[in-house]
Amino acid sequence: MTEHSDIDHVSGRATTGHEWDGIKELNTPLPRWWVITFYLTILWAIGYWIVYPAWPLLWSHTTGIWNYSTRAEVATDLANLEKIRGDKMVALGAASLEEIEKNPALLALARARGKTVFGDNCAPCHGSGGAGAKGYPNLNDDEWLWGGSLDQIMQTIQFGARSGHQKAHEGAMLAFGKDGVLKKDEIVTVANYVRSLSGLPTAAGYNAAAGAKIFADNCASCHGENGKGNQELGAPNLTDKIWLYGSDEATLVETISNGRAGVMPAWVGRLDPSTIKALTVYVHSLGGGK
């Protein structure tokens, strides 16, 4: 190493022999404890290989002597979470829906829990904020097909609509066109009549009296004489500004011709009772609850 035995004349110390722009680097070795610490970190790393899963093998990996697994850790955490949640969820289960809404602590818990459960289970159809989509009701507004009171909402969540559950809401919009009950021009006429019920403009030259007659004969049994709807049957109010499938003439003609029967699944048995309660309170507190 003779090429390194270059001595700096100012400090009298050896340099590393490296030179940049005429500046040489003094050879200042690390202190002993520092070097030892460095070797200890290497030993530590080797300890890691032995203790924890470390090396990928062709079809598996080294498992380490502690059998540590992040998946098992997550499972434990989740179990602990359930345990921690236990008392609070019991309190939620014991309180009535009205009591939950009046108690700020329970309301906050129900809304937090409900929001999570909603995101996991309801958001695919109703949207992450409950804003709905065509055919899937907006849960933020005040139009409810099956009723918007706390109890009615819980009923709907538990058993669904046309879900196959025996307690589910039943009732479907008939297919007046497909089944040959109404002719094409009658359907267009009654569609315009329905538009007039909510103050929407009608097509030029449409026969209002004929529309009213068709409505009274075919639709009033479910939607009511004034078109105000019937929550027993899930028949929507046709006089308000909210339309589940759309209010333009073409959509109405489609609805009347082929009928509608959207399905809301039953959640009883899939979600535990206190979770359904939390979800009910959450949906109710979105703002449309009666």
Binding site: M1, H4, S5, I7, H9, V10, G12, R13, A14, N27, T28, P29, L30, P31, R32, W33, W34, V35, E101, K102, P104, L107, A108, R111, G127, S128, G129, G130, A131, N138, N140, D141, D142, E143, N237, D240, K241, I242, S285, L286, G287, G288
Partner: protein, 487 residues
């Protein structure tokens, strides 16, 4: 300063170790004005650190009465009359800025005053050295005892044990005092004595005992030289006016022995004041020779000044051969000009002005700190909802902060061009169309607020809404602005 180097000392061949063994430093005791200053500052710093948790401050019922308390479980920080919430972290930012600027100012005025007198590493190392000196004796004795490693006597073993136990006791109490800042101090002391304190307290005391013992007992000057970034930073912050511990080589050189110097002076020949007694090196806690000029390892504690002054007094020469001086004066003296000092100069004025400005902003913010606050977040999904009667509704998540130590009743209003009605989900009551909320003391409350504009007032697009909360009892008002949006 050219030294003759024996190449065999340099470990140049491959057989040499990869590291440089530490040369142990044996600082000698010294007395003088700088040593007294250091004792005083040490007593002050340690006194504040160890005793401050026991200072009390009455904040009324239900609030902690510890003057300085970091209440992590409740996310509050208390400092005498100040109570800070997590969202007021900018006070700490301000404090850090002031601290940094103060460090810069100290550096511009007097070099590394922080390193030499105030840094915890210096203070505790100094304390540990004092213990070591008391148990094992001064520099020469310690060197002799360490050199006689092979022959450990019973007495020597006892000394070593005593030193380390005292060190560990100091370290343990240092860790203990730290923990006291995070909970009610007298309660925790009692819990610690009866072994009922929470595990986390013991863990932290353990960690800080270990770090104090290792840093102040074993690593000492190596922390300053190898680990601390400040010497590197301060080199960029200093200038030719900054006072630094300086060996006045213009006066000291050529150094020679006392006897030779006396002879030469008798002959009327020029000779320096430095008699090469190495007292400045003997007392140095980082083991350097200040006569080699400014260097990174120098923490500027001034102990070499005391040592040199003692010697100068003894030999009847003028003191302050080593002293606080700036770079300019060495050259001025060589040119026969009187020394000049300039504390007030653009750099120090700038630092002082910045400190004053940040301090004033912080003080203003502190004095006008609102004790009632409202944050509003517009729901984005959906942004707006059309109701069955054609009216439009927007939902907001409202967070109300009550920083007072008592519950209070708040009314919420929304002012805007839409003549909206308000509804709070889970509202306590509604009086004259205003939702009323009870805010629990010293907490935040989150509400879901629904704002509905009747069909005839539907805005074309987005209009501003001003949310206002009013404390019914005190009349305190806070407000926030958001927007009302149509679909």
């Amino acid at each position: 300063m050219n030294k003759t180097v024996n190449p065999t000392d340099l470990q140049l061949d491959d057989d040499g170790p990869l590291y440089a063994a530490r040369k142990k430093v044996y600082p000698q005791s010294v007395s003088g004005s700088f040593r007294r200053t250091k004792w005083g500052l040490m007593a002050f710093c340690l006194g504040v650190y160890y005793l401050l948790p026991f200072a009390r401050w009455n904040r009324g019922l239900g609030a902690p009465d510890q003057a300085v308390l970091v209440d992590l479980p409740n996310s509050r920080f208390y400092f005498f009359f100040i109570e800070l919430w997590p969202q007021e972290v900018y006070y700490f930012t301000g404090l850090l800025i002031v601290a940094a600027l103060t460090l810069f100012l100290m550096n511009a005025v007097g070099g590394r005053i922080w390193c030499g007198y105030l840094c915890p590493q210096t203070v505790w190392t100094d304390l540990f050295y004092a213990v070591e000196r008391w148990v094992e004796g001064d520099r020469r004795e310690r060197m002799r005892k360490d050199a006689a490693k092979g022959t450990i006597t019973f007495r020597r073993a006892g000394e070593i044990a005593l030193k380390h136990s005292i060190w560990l006791m100091i370290a343990w109490w240092t860790g203990g005092a730290w923990v006291l800042y995070f909970t009610d101090a007298p309660t925790l002391v009692w819990q610690l004595l009866t072994f009922q304190a929470p595990m986390i307290a013991y863990i932290w005391i353990g960690i800080l005992t270990a770090t104090t013992y290792i840093f102040a007992g074993w690593m000492r000057e190596q922390v300053c030289v190898y680990m601390c970034p400040w010497p590197r930073i301060q080199a960029a912050l200093t200038d030719e006016w900054a006072l630094n511990v300086t060996y006045k080589y213009d006066r000291g050189e050529a150094r020679t022995s006392l006897k030779k110097a006396t002879d030469l002076r008798a002959l009327g020949q020029p000779v320096g004041d430095c008699i090469d007694c190495y007292q400045c090196v003997a007392v140095c806690p980082t083991g350097i020779d200040i006569r080699n000029g400014p260097q990174l390892d120098c923490i500027q504690c001034g102990l070499c000044i005391d040592a040199c002054d003692t010697v100068m007094t003894k030999i009847g020469r003028e003191t302050r051969l080593i002293g606080y001086d700036n770079d300019i004066n060495i050259h001025r003296r060589q040119e026969g000009k009187p020394p000049i000092y300039r504390i007030v100069r653009p750099r120090t004025i700038t630092y002082a002005a910045l400190i004053a400005a940040v301090g004033a902003v912080m003080l203003y913010a502190l004095l006008t700190r609102s004790l009632l606050d409202i944050n509003v977040l517009h729901d984005r999904n959906p942004v707006a909802v059309k109701l069955s009667d054609g009216s439009i509704r927007n939902a907001y998540t409202v967070r109300l902060l009550n920083k007072r130590g008592f519950d209070r009743v708040i009314a919420i209003d929304a002012d805007g061009p839409i003549n909206a009605t308000l509804h709070v989900v889970g509202a306590d009551s509604v009086t004259q169309d205003r939702p009323m909320i009870i805010l629990a003391r010293d907490t935040t409350t989150e509400l879901r607020l629904l704002v509905t504009a009747p069909a005839e007032n539907n805005p074309e697009k987005s209009v501003p809404v001003h949310f206002r909360v009013t404390d019914i009892g005190l009349g305190e008002v806070a407000s926030a602005t958001d927007h009302f949006v149509s679909p």
